[in-house]
Amino acid sequence: MIRVSLFLLAAIGVVWPMAAIAEPKVSTFTLENGLRGVVIEDHRTPVATHMLWYRVGAADEPPSETGVAHYLEHLLFKGTEKYPEGEFSRIVAENGGQQNAFTSHDYTAYFQRVAVDRLELMMELEADRMTGVQLTDEAAALERDVVLEERNSRTENEPSGRFREQLSSALYLNHPYGDPVIGWRSEILDLDREKALGFYRRFYSPDNATLVVAGDVDPAEVEAMARRQYGSIPPTGARPDARPQEPPHVAARRVEMQDPRVSQPYMLRFYLVPSVAAGEPGEGATLSVLSKILGGGLTSRLGKRLQIEKEMALGASAFYWGVARDETSFGVYAAPVDGVGLDALEAEVDAVIARLIADGPTEEELARAKTVIIAAEIYAQDSQSQMARSYGAALSAGLSVDDIQAWPGAVEKVTAEDVRRAAETYLRLERSVTGLLSKPDPEETAESADGEGESKG
């Protein structure tokens, strides 16, 4: 009986009157020097998030300089003529602000969260370091050590970190998405002041940046402020070069790594798929729905088959990194219970995917996936800083505000056949790399002390 009523509910759940999704108030402007601005109004508390996004990231680095985008991000805290080393952080802190920065393959972003009446001061500081960074060799060398320790924490100390790095690298045959954002250790060691400043002068300019302000603000005032603080910086015409793109993928790849510190083996597969920006209209929404149906929790295909029916997996999921400028990855993950081998698990994952390609999802599965994806848009509005970050990332990946706001509608339009076809087109082994992470076999270890695939950089 329960089941019947649930089906009904699901059917009702599909119909989302678009008006019911309270859209955030978002406006845009562009300054004369090319700086683009986005304002997201949130009048709940007198707080603002100020973010400056450069449309340049690790995928735009010169050959043999992996990590320079991220290294430069660190160096932007080293001071300018106007605000020498330490002043930036001191001023932000003394104004009750929090700040940070982050780098991805597609962008480098700097942000502060402050009381709304300090917003213009944040703009002044950020505008100053767009072109004003001053750097000694000594400061640059010290910061390189810090980055190496960061890489130690994230990657060298973590079998999973090294495994994922190998996996991404094997997925991309030609595109720089295959290189780690933080850089290969051997190349970080060769980074210096000149390389960082070269990247800085080439790419940091108002016409290669997007300003995102979220909070208790008036859009016209934000634009006026931005003009005062950023408006006098001349544009440079900076544009990252076209990136090397992927050739057709014709062979399935495998990465098998063993490390004595792996306590829980797992399989992780990446498929090469279009991003929202790089795909045909609707394709990103379809892949997002596909990821939920295939691997969004216990009721998904993978959860149901691997965790509930066969009791083979501790966990299983699928995910789609849709916000990227170029072709991106769709991931499938599964971790076996004790006594189940990775090979058997992988075979079952393949069977689940084959069935989805053969039959497509049911209407109920489709409706539930859409409900979860669209509701997530409403929940996301609760976090001002997350909204700012999401808009900044999407715009830096080549999407527009209209694209973002059309997303729930695009999700709504996805059909069961769209999902089936996307699975058939993209979830093909020759477009993928399959990774198996495990502990070395105790008998083999006795003969050779070094685990295969383990590399100490």
Partner: protein, 450 residues
């Protein structure tokens, strides 16, 4: 798309700000929130705090029980954590899959978590599905099924997590630190239990612990969002009215047993991770706010703390270093952490000890104190910029028994701290020789004292 973005940024954070959940409720002022807090009592007699916020059609409900692993008996270590995992695995007529499906259809978010002293229920619901979503949460809290198959699965997940802790340098360091600090007490082990204890847990154990873990007499409730106090009171009664009352958990206080010194656990990793600390303060200690202000300068102030300045900025020895007050229900700690390459960790720890001693001896300068106050008072409002954060803060402040005026008064408490207060508190608290240090890795020049 906004939500999808949350998972898609393989960004690498530089300059991570050091934040620790346990101390987040100790600073600042947000007038907008403080003015809007309604202190109410449900028709059934449950006190709760509410902030009505109508701009987004969602409601956040946070229930904190002052229980956690603290209420576990000998032999069932980890049962409260397992309970947190099992409450979403089927209830009433719904089996695990049915529960999960229903939650997705309602687009409700329901999460359970537990720690040493707390059991938390965090829920977010769409206004349009509020009634049904609350009913689903009520089922989970009052009629969980604990079926065999999901129990086997969740137990295996917990054990996998515990095994992973045994190979992660930071987790190994933390677990050994607590084991050395609190031998033969519930704080001496990880609240998730041990692989042995969790392996032995049964459905009966889960049922037996429920009254103690979900004890309404130890519950604190915060509601934020698209709802008024009258409607919220009705929902809260529905959630909590059927829970049986139990005796309050023990609250006698433990002191840190570990002495000053270094313990080294050898692990073949390029970077050593160190946890260091000694006795700290309970949240109720009158010196807590002065100590909190002092620690901003020593190790809490992210970018500009003395530890970051000495270890990271001047010598490039670490990506992350910090110290923090860690007040628990039954013990107060002063903890810190740093990670450096094996050949540099000894130097990092030398600098940490030097800063510890300098602060103990001299306190802070008037300029440092002024800077700390400006940051701590100015940034307090940032803790109240989302419904979810406010709901969690409302519960935290009630659990610490700070009173409904705390949010309004907190900044004046910070402002009142003097240089002399800081000096006195630093002298009382900080003792470089008492620092118990656990290092995991292959450190050079750090031979363990024991």
């Amino acid at each position: 798309m906004i939500a999808m973005l949350r998972h898609c940024c393989a960004a690498s954070l530089a300059l991570a700000a050091l934040t620790f959940a346990v101390v987040t409720l100790t600073g600042g002022s947000a007038r907008a929130v403080s003015a809007g807090i309604v202190e109410a009592v449900s028709p059934g007699g449950v006190p709760f705090w509410l902030v009505e916020e109508r701009s987004i059609p969602i409601v956040a409900i946070e229930i904190g029980f002052k229980t956690g692993a603290n209420v576990e008996g000998e032999g069932d270590e980890g049962v409260v954590n397992l309970l947190a995992g099992m409450l979403e695995e089927g209830a009433g007529d719904l089996d695990a899959t049915g529960f999960s499906r229903k939650r997705d259809e309602l687009a409700a978010r329901i999460g359970f978590s537990s720690g040493r002293d707390t059991f938390n229920v965090s829920a977010a619901m769409l206004t349009r599905n509020l009634e049904e979503s609350v009913e689903l949460l009520r089922l989970a809290l009052t009629e969980p099924r604990f079926d065999d198959a999901p129990l086997a699965r969740v137990r295996a997940q917990v054990i996998a997590g515990l095994k992973r802790r045994q190979t992660d340098p930071g987790d190994v360091a933390s677990d050994l630190w607590f084991a050395s600090a609190f031998p033969e007490t519930p704080y001496g082990r990880h609240p998730d239990g041990t692989t042995d204890s969790v392996s032995a847990l049964t459905t009966e154990d889960l049922r037996a612990i429920m009254p103690a873990a979900l004890n309404p007499a130890a519950a604190f409730v915060g509601v934020v969002g698209d709802i008024d106090a009258v409607a919220a009171g009705v929902l809260i009664d529905r959630l909590l009215a059927d829970l049986p009352e139990a005796a309050p958990p023990a609250h006698d206080v433990f002191d840190v047993a570990a002495q000053g010194g270094v313990e080294v656990v050898r692990m073949e990793v390029p970077q050593s991770v160190a946890i260091f600390g000694h006795q700290g303060l309970l949240r109720a200690d009158p010196d807590f706010i002065p100590a909190y202000v002092m620690n901003y300068t020593l190790g809490g102030g992210g970018f500009i703390s003395r530890l970051t300045s000495e270890v990271r900025e001047k010598e490039g020895l670490a990506y992350s270093v910090g110290a923090y007050l860690y007040p628990m229900d039954r013990a107060g700690l002063y903890l810190g952490q740093v990670a450096s390459s094996n050949d540099r960790i000894a130097r990092s720890l030398e600098l940490v000890r030097a800063e510890w001693a300098r602060m103990a001896e001299k306190g802070v300068t008037p300029e440092e104190l002024a800077a700390a106050k400006k940051y701590l008072t100015g940034a307090y409002a940032l803790r109240f910029d989302s419904n979810a954060k406010i709901a969690s803060a409302l519960v935290g402040i009630q659990m610490e028994d700070l009173g409904v005026d705390y949010i309004r008064n907190r900044n004046s408490l910070v402002e009142a701290v003097t240089v002399e207060d800081v000096k006195r508190v630093a002298k009382r608290l900080l003792d470089a020789d008492a620092l118990h240090v656990v290092v995991v890795g292959d450190p050079e020049g750090l031979d363990a004292a024991n």
